[in-house]
């Protein structure tokens, strides 16, 4: 009968080796920068940084939901969908869309093409205007884009437009101001220098919380960040600059701080595509400063995206 001592000793030796290796590797693993187990987020544990690749897909998916499924594929003309409409309509990003958004399918090319159009959404609608039902009074359906925006933010926490777009629809059409603020603060934690999120947070305080002082502080911080990040660029983000300074200018005018309002309006005019309209605001303020009577109430803050 063969002795069983040797196999047992080998087994014991291997167990000791495994234990030692595990103890040594665990120390190294805990200090390793690529260790994902410290993250509470399942997606980041599973996918690591590769998850960022899919974030844009889900952002576009949210826009497809915004259109109730009527959306161009990679095989269609996407000129009219270069900027997602849900983002453009929220006034948080500038639009770059051209062409016919309703007719990207073109005329049916053959009978199969004509027949197939009966089996998928083939009419341009927006969820905030009732979607497929066409009920203009029901804009709350826009909530359906939220799961994909949430997922997009989970996958890429540094995609700022996800936070600003979601926050706009949350507070404007779903009446969820607290959730919008919380989501923006989440975005600000991930992107502490984001002038876009600061500006949008300012809108929450100004338009929903009626806390004008905090709104102004946020817009001023936003302007400082913009000047630090964007001003040196050859093609800066003019759209948001105009939004920030126009809001600040009108706010200061409303408060009766005319010199500050004038300073912001000069900045606004310098980068505005319609400087003549801004000049009218400036003339109005100059007129108020010149007149001895107390200043009348200033016009209300303009809605986003309408700054001249």
């Amino acid at each position: 009968m063969r002795s069983t001592k040797l196999p047992l000793l080998i087994l014991l030796g291997l167990l000791v080796l495994c234990f030692g290796l595990a103890a040594w590797l665990d120390l190294w693993f805990q200090t390793w920068q690529g260790n994902r187990t410290q993250s509470a987020d399942v997606l980041s544990v599973l996918m690591g940084d590769s998850r960022r690749m899919f974030a844009n897909h889900f952002f576009v998916k949210a826009d497809a939901y915004f259109h109730s499924g009527f959306y161009p594929t990679v095989f269609d003309n996407r000129e009219a969908f270069r900027t997602p409409h849900m983002a453009e309509d929220s006034g948080t990003v500038g639009g770059q869309n051209e062409g016919d958004e309703k007719g990207f399918l073109g005329k049916p090319r053959d009978w199969i093409d004509a027949l197939s159009r009966q089996f998928f959404p083939a009419r341009h609608t927006h969820l905030d205007q009732g979607g497929a039902s066409g009920d203009l009074g029901d804009s709350s359906q826009v909530r359906e884009i939220m799961p994909w925006l949430r997922l997009s933010a989970e996958l890429n926490p540094n995609d700022i437009r996800t936070y600003t777009v979601a926050a706009y629809w949350l507070r404007e059409r779903m009446g969820k101001v607290a959730e919008a603020e919380q989501f923006l603060r989440e975005g600000l934690r991930e992107n502490p220098d984001s002038y876009e999120i600061m500006y949008e947070l300012g809108r929450v305080y100004s338009e929903n919380r009626n806390d004008q002082a905090r709104a102004r502080n946020l817009w001023e911080a936003s302007l400082r960040q913009w000047q630090r990040q964007e001003a040196p660029k050859s093609d800066p983000d003019k759209f948001l600059f105009i939004q920030i300074v126009s809001h600040l200018a009108l706010f200061e005018e409303k408060q009766g701080h005319y010199p500050q309002a004038l300073a912001y309006m000069e900045l606004w005019k310098a980068r505005s595509p319609g400087p003549d309209a801004v000049q009218k605001f400036i003339d109005d303020i100059l007129h108020k400063m010149a007149s001895p009577a107390p200043a009348p109430a200033a016009p209300p803050l303009q809605p986003p995206g309408q700054a001249p």
């Binding site: 090319r109 027949l115 497929a132």
Partner: protein
């Protein structure tokens, strides 16, 4: 006809005796319930993402059930050596094949009823309305589409050597048609001749299974499709299924079964 129905009933019994359907059904239910439990900005009325996930699973599961069930019918009869006794009875090869097709198709129909009932309940729990007509259309179109897939798989089971290769090839082709079938004509128009004509010819030849995928209409609550249009689509699918079945019958008649 009695012979065909007898064979079909055996196939249906086989489906509910096997575990495949139950596993897929429970998996779908579990995943959907987990997804439904996610808190999205404290809004309990958000439902379309859930409908999309549920319908995606229903489509995947139905294709798995249809292809795997159809792919093993004839080969398993040969392997188990039950094909000879079957054909020794007053049962022609055509009847056997038609019975197998009908059995697989009806079994898939039963599975679809279970899946769509769950889908309807899930959607109604959030939307508080039940567009029965839309669901009926979606289910019927889905079922008609499966007829083409089953017929193709049965033909494949007579041509390809093993059920696994047949199932794999069928899955790849069905996925290709569902994802790209609608766009082949657009790609063809951008190509020079003769590739344009070849691709356009392929576009006309393939069964356009994507026609029957009306998930977007269901998810986004679009109005139901006109019934005559559904009828045309059903005829289109049944024509393809018939052609594939005739092909399968012709191959089976000439095939040595030992």
């Amino acid at each position: 006809m009695n012979n065909i129905l007898a064979v079909a009933s055996v196939v249906i019994k086989e489906l509910y005796r096997r575990k495949d359907f139950y596993v897929l059904y429970i998996l779908t239910v579990l995943i959907c319930l987990i997804m439904a439990s996610v808190n999205l900005f404290h809004d309990v009325h958000i439902v379309r993402y859930l409908k999309e996930i549920c319908l995606l699973f229903i489509w995947i599961c139905s294709l798995v059930i249809a292809i795997t069930t159809a792919a093993r019918q004839i080969p398993s009869e040969r392997e188990n050596r039950t094909l000879f006794p079957l054909l020794a009875k007053p049962l022609s090869r055509t009847q056997l094949l038609l019975g197998k097709f009908l059995g697989c198709w009806l079994a898939c129909g039963l599975a679809l009823i279970c899946f769509y009932l769950f889908f309807g309940a899930l959607a109604a729990s959030r939307e508080h309305h039940w567009p029965l007509l839309n669901y009926l259309q979606a289910g019927l179109l889905h079922w008609v589409m499966l007829a083409v897939v089953i017929a193709f798989t049965l033909l494949g089971s007579l041509v390809f050597a093993a059920p696994s290769s047949n199932a794999t090839i069928t899955f790849v082709l069905v996925a290709f048609i569902l994802l790209l079938g609608r766009h082949l004509n657009k790609v063809a128009l951008q190509l020079p001749e003769p590739r344009r004509s070849i691709l356009y010819g392929l576009y006309y030849c393939i069964p356009h299974l994507e026609l029957f995928d009306v998930r977007d209409l269901i998810i986004h609550n679009w109005p139901p499709i006109a019934w005559p249009v559904c009828g045309v689509a059903a005829l289109y699918a049944l024509a393809y299924a018939s052609a594939l079945l005739i092909g399968a019958c012709l191959v089976f008649r000439r095939k040595a079964i030992n």
